[in-house]
Symmetry: C2
Subunit: 184 residues, 2 copies
DNA sequence: CCAAGAGGTATACACCTGTAGACTTAGCTC
DNA sequence: GAGCTAAGTCTACAGGTGTATACCTCTTGG
């Protein structure tokens, strides 16, 4: 049995919740399930985080705050995003990405609102900061939409076309798309 | 009370289910709720459709089979898709689109598989048929990903940037993206 | 050494879930 | 008008949901 340690237990719950919410989405995961994975009772979760919704909010905050933007060089940004996107959505890739967390939990309206705030405050902001042209505000938002859509079709839906396609071709086409959106 | 009529009742259940699944997603809707909207008992739903999953499969089939591709002219295809996409995802638009059905139900793996089959057999096929270049098979799949992503961010998440942006600008940028993906 | 408080658990409630089996009732045919 | 069959309903079950209240127990400070 783990020694009593509030901070460590909190962390364990948070990790367990991140894994579960990312794997199955907000609605499909029970508080008891998260608690058990953390070696703890369901009620302790609510004691530390107030409610399932409060826990989710902290998970989102932690997941989105990690810097995911890949380069600071606007010239190679489109190519970098395309490459990382294709790699991370590959059928054999590890499945623990903020976009998965978002897409699997977005159907719940309260979760969606929390996600919107997190995305805008962190991910979208990171992307905007790298771009030189501050007037192109739709660009980052549309780029995130493309990333989200690619995740949906390749991972959630499991499109056979996107699974079969040559990754080099996908990457090249996506790079063109991001170039169009982030340019000017 | 509606006169006894199996065909009409089936139809009523199907309509009610389409509305409910599109509004809330597969997991968030109960069979009782669908039944009640159709003026019927929950058990009748299962009697006609075997199970909730069977009902969902029929709903998806019906929703996807409706031809949604807008023009047969490849020259104006990119512009048409962009225009309709922006219009249908507008904040005040009616919310009954196959993409919403898909995105809200995709977190459930069994629902996702049903959706994948429906998408590929109908929507993706329609789009592919219009294109002249039969070797560009990733194009339609990627275009669907972009459409899905735009729906997610604008409707499910409620991105403030995509809500605030000028619709003409969004449409223009999306047209460029679809042009890149669907060209040659 | 022992009490106080933090860390954690047990029990319970009110409600909802999909669906199986037995039942009732309305409508058409003869 | 009687009777059969299709259309539809009732009851029930086994389990799961989030979370509020009351409780226990380990660790630490005096």
């Amino acid at each position: 049995m783990r020694p009593r340690n509030a901070a460590a237990t909190r962390e364990a719950i948070l990790n367990s919740a991140l894994e579960a919410f990312t794997r199955a989405g907000y609605d499909a995961v029970g508080v008891r399930e998260i608690a058990e994975s953390a070696g703890v009772t369901a009620m302790l979760v609510n004691r530390y985080f107030g409610s399932k919704e409060g826990l989710f909010a902290e998970v989102v905050e932690a997941a989105m705050a990690e810097r995911t933007v890949l380069t600071d060089d606007p010239a190679t940004l489109a190519a970098d995003i395309a490459a990382v996107l294709v790699r991370r959505t590959a059928p054999d890739a590890g499945r623990l990405d903020p976009f998965l967390l978002m897409l699997r939990s977005a159907p719940n309206p309260r979760a969606a609102e929390i996600l919107r705030a997190g995305i805008e405050r962190h991910v979208e902001k990171h992307l905007t900061d790298v771009l030189p042209d501050k007037r192109n505000t739709e660009g980052p938002a549309l780029a995130l939409a493309v990333i989200a859509g690619f995740w949906v079709m390749r991972t959630l839906i499991g499109s056979t076309e996107l699974a079969r396609a040559d990754e080099g071709v996908l990457e090249a086409k996506l790079e063109k798309v991001f170039a169009v959106l982030l340019a000017e």
